[in-house]
Point group: C2
Chain length 368, copies 2
């Protein structure tokens, strides 16, 4: 296990535990016979994310009941390259459809910001808060005053809530105030929100303004997790794929480490420790991500072939190897053909704060 001091210029490699993407966006998630889910898990493992928490709200489709959950499960059946967890998405009228069995198969309840630009009526959201079991997380991507509504409901129902894809100064202020008053709120920021702005991509109004991005960096202590989310897919527009943004995440974050804006521990906390805690995920034994950092290289060596905002850019971090359940799943750009991911949707683990587990060094061969 390599562990030289992070700030040393001699630092070349580092090993993370298996990382978690707390917001995996899969465009065709609940569309019958879509290969998107499989493609997303392939890109995920190659990017160092050994677990994906899937956003149940996809591109004009969503997991909202038994039928759509079964479609998503059929799409991935036996073919997942990383562990994954599925959730249910709230609608204005599906609270009665959530029976105990269905809830047991879901990792979390996702309350979307808006569906077709309309917020879910507050009474429906309140009904979901009342009936969703306390031990399972509630996630929302609500913004602005919709976020305030949800934080208020969470507070009134004494519920924890995880806010995904926080993007602006006002929202991070609300979350900071809520945390200061011991409201049980956690949040994640999309990696792209930390590195790309509307100013760089003027048509991408879904990216933060430079001021908002600055607020995210300033309030980094308030940010519990990093995610990939749906921004990379949106930014790629017609070139968007289920792999969009996955492979960019670690190189971007590692480059920020080299630039002194983040520490390696900042990454471990936000891509492993906190995600495992917040979502009650099972600890992945013998699962590690080995990275190389400090050597400038052109971004390009990629499993997926979708468009990237980093095309030809110089980055200071790359993924060398991913060990998944003791097997080498990814090595220097090549992926093992064996899908070894498991469905961890219904596993309920109550974690004590994470402790380091000693590991053996696996060989430099791909599992096959």
């Amino acid at each position: 296990e390599v562990s030289t001091i992070d700030s040393k210029s001699s630092h070349r490699t580092h090993t993370f535990p298996g990382l978690v993407n707390v917001a995996a966006f899969i465009p065709g998630l609940a569309l019958p016979n879509s290969k998107d889910f499989i493609e997303a898990t392939r890109a995920s493992i190659g990017a160092g994310f050994t677990t994906s928490i899937v956003i149940p709200q996809a591109q004009d489709n969503a997991i909202v009941d038994r039928a759509t959950l079964e479609v998503a499960k059929a799409n991935i059946q036996g073919s997942a390259y990383c562990n994954f967890a599925l959730s249910l998405s709230a609608t204005a009228d599906n609270v009665q459809l959530f029976d105990e069995e269905l809830i047991a198969e879901a990792r979390a309840l996702f309350i979307p910001f808006r569906i077709a630009n309309k917020p879910i009526p507050l009474s429906a959201v309140a009904a979901h808060f009342s009936s969703w079991p306390a031990e399972k997380p509630i996630i929302t991507d609500a913004k602005g005053s919709d976020l305030a509504s949800l934080l208020l409901l969470a507070s009134l129902h004494n519920r924890t809530i995880h806010v995904t894809d926080v993007q602006n100064a006002d929202d991070i202020l609300l979350i900071s105030l809520s945390k200061a008053k011991s409201l049980k709120v956690t949040c994640d920021v999309s990696v792209y929100s930390l590195f790309f702005t509307q100013e760089q991509f003027p048509s991408a109004t879904f990216l933060p303004s430079p001021e908002d991005q600055n607020a995210l960096w300033t309030k980094l202590k308030m940010i519990d997790a990093f995610s990939v989310g749906s921004l990379p897919f949106k930014l790629a527009s017609e070139n968007g794929s289920p792999a969009s943004g996955m492979e960019e995440a670690l190189p971007l974050l590692l480059t920020a480490v080299i630039e002194g804006r983040l520490s390696l521990q900042d990454i471990t906390i936000r891509l492993h420790d906190n995600p495992v805690q917040i979502f009650g995920l099972p600890e992945q034994a013998q699962t590690h991500v080995e990275v190389t950092l400090g050597r400038k290289a052109r971004f390009g060596l990629r499993v997926s072939s979708c468009w990237s905002p980093l095309e030809q850019a110089l980055v200071s971090g790359t993924i060398h190897r991913v060990i998944f359940h003791g097997q080498t799943s990814f090595l220097d750009g090549s992926l093992s053909p064996v899908p070894m991911g498991k469905d961890v949707s219904s596993a309920t683990i109550s974690h004590v704060p994470a402790v380091a587990v000693p590991t053996s060094a696996p060989s430099d061969n791909l599992a096959s």
Copy 2:
């Protein structure tokens, strides 16, 4: 003092304590040389409202700083027919303008729903919450998710908040949930919202839908106060005046008593007891409102001559006499020409729950 049993058909007169309009809308409030403020207090006393809490957000003008407060005060100087209290309206950038002296002269801080259809930035609202003194009320007319934001901020700052002009089922639900969790929130409903709907006046989208109106009646227990507010002025459109809606309030409410939808105590609690408590108003000695009820009569005998939605309607309640500080201010349609109102903006009273005070019966002559 008359006090036969309310439900008896023989009941003909009742005496209320001096009533409070917790939301007096005065169109030209802070416009130099406007007579609106005087006219509003004349209409108010004739309508049984011996105290007006003035909304500082008027028609394209507002009390937002020292200069605008002085304009409003100059408009009413020595000419108030009822007691009144002035407040300050929050803007995106006036928190620094509120010095101790200015705050001391204001009854409350009003946080408008939107100014020119834009909400005040959350960071500015949070700054107002942090700096406004805890013993002075905060009022808002925010709706929907803006209301949720304000309730959340109130909860996070552990502050009481009064929501004025509640109009729909979702908002009353939010307030009910907040009260159930002992958040310190109170609210009022405009009298017009209880009696008029969008269905009756299709162009009046500011009135509740029949469904929303029904929710207000169903949740009457959650409603701490009734108000006149700005709805009557809006409904009257070009015929709107500072008197709009004042004289209609009691006849509408008393007719509902006769119809069995309200009790006289429901009115006393919401137009006297709770307003005095919520806004810490000084108790008005020897101040009473004598009403006649149960006899159907055409609405029409009015101090003001503005348009009314009750024009020629049959109502079952009228105001017989208003006693103000021991003097008859209003008698059977005629108003005393003597302005006897006082500025109670800065009086700070901490009330114990109201107790009945014995009174002497004043003579049937107008003060002059």
